[in-house]
Subunit: 140 residues, 4 copies
Amino acid sequence: MRIPEGAITTSFRFRVAYIDTDRGDVMHHATYLRYLEVARVEHLRDRGVDYRAFELVQGLSLPVVEVHVRYKQAARFDDALEIKTWLGLANRAKVRFDSLILRGDELLTRAEVTLCCVRLEGKRICSVPDNILALAQLGR
Amino acid sequence: MRIPEGAITTSFRFRVAYIDTDRGDVMHHATYLRYLEVARVEHLRDRGVDYRAFELVQGLSLPVVEVHVRYKQAARFDDALEIKTWLGLANRAKVRFDSLILRGDELLTRAEVTLCCVRLEGKRICSVPDNILALAQLGR
Amino acid sequence: MRIPEGAITTSFRFRVAYIDTDRGDVMHHATYLRYLEVARVEHLRDRGVDYRAFELVQGLSLPVVEVHVRYKQAARFDDALEIKTWLGLANRAKVRFDSLILRGDELLTRAEVTLCCVRLEGKRICSVPDNILALAQLGR
Amino acid sequence: MRIPEGAITTSFRFRVAYIDTDRGDVMHHATYLRYLEVARVEHLRDRGVDYRAFELVQGLSLPVVEVHVRYKQAARFDDALEIKTWLGLANRAKVRFDSLILRGDELLTRAEVTLCCVRLEGKRICSVPDNILALAQLGR
């Protein structure tokens, strides 16, 4: 998985917390989903979509329908990591955020997280709205 | 902290999960709050209060306003633990659930978790309702 | 994804905890990995492999190298769920545990979690040992 | 609880993540312990103690022996919060980190977290070392 040409990539940096580790002395595999989510929210913010307002004002939500993560190298306590995120796919049915997690130049993890769109009132699936689809077009 | 005479105590049993541990090879101190909460919900269920219905039907919630936990002995991966829970205090303003966490006969942790009552519509503090206060009286 | 013929399936039951939910009123997508892991440890125990001893006595560990989860229906607070788990694939390089998460008869989630084997001393990848590979053969 | 005169206070800023919330639409009470821990590690770093090296090089650890948290106001998704942390008490037996969690000028939470010192080899309690005690003296 490479970053596709023309993709608008954002970068989110964090340190692995003590609570993120397990007795194997590495960041637990579930914890990656926490930081991938934070990176997604920051990606949206950087590109003009405030996800809190997306839920509260637009009345829409983007629940996760699929995750696919490949762990190549382990992350350890206090490691300074970077998540590069871009929109891998976007259409009326779903959007997919692709990410690489890096420790400096070393690739630790590749992830693809697919979301659909739900209208919070009534909890029905709806079309992905224009302000999300527009994120895909800006990169071209 | 001993279990007071006449207190109605319930018992919740669980095993320490791998994700619950940290690189110090013990259950992380934040994780105790997870299991104390589950033990509280089961205490309520055992004594006739379905907490899901409490929120959905009564429209009330019991948010945590104070926690006080003393960790005496560490818990480790796959340890079979027991949480003994009773109502330590209950009045119109607040209820306090007291717990001991045990590994067999060995006391690991003592905890006091204080909750108030909130009406979900409007998110205003309200009086602790009769079905919660009644839990305190049954023990006498 | 169906349970393949001849697969030895174990069943792990749990209730969705309050802490497992998010402001969307559903179980957060990362939390599934917690319960899938617990279900794996219980699958191993049911079939004769004590994972704590696997790490402490055999000196081996089974870190996660890939997760693929598809969320079909949301789980909610206090839902009583069941995880059916079986060994989807096992060879010297890796083992894959496949799971269905069910609420009664309703399929909520399908998951495939792939693990490799690491010798804890030196943290080097090693062959999946016989007692894990044997789990695959029992089902035939 | 006020910040005592002469205390050296550090500030850690973060945003409440989606995963941090629960179905009550607030940050779950257990999650505060995550951020309080991160704030402690950053407090130590700001004042010259690298906690990773403390464990790996000095061979010591600072496990939590007591937490006392009072939740005054709820935090919500995407709130920008600040944790002010200082050393409330330090002697050979234990150190206590005191914290205020703020949303702008509004006080949300007060917390006191007490740690002891353990030598990792043998897991025996030992005296709090000079480089931790020195943190208390710098503030005078």
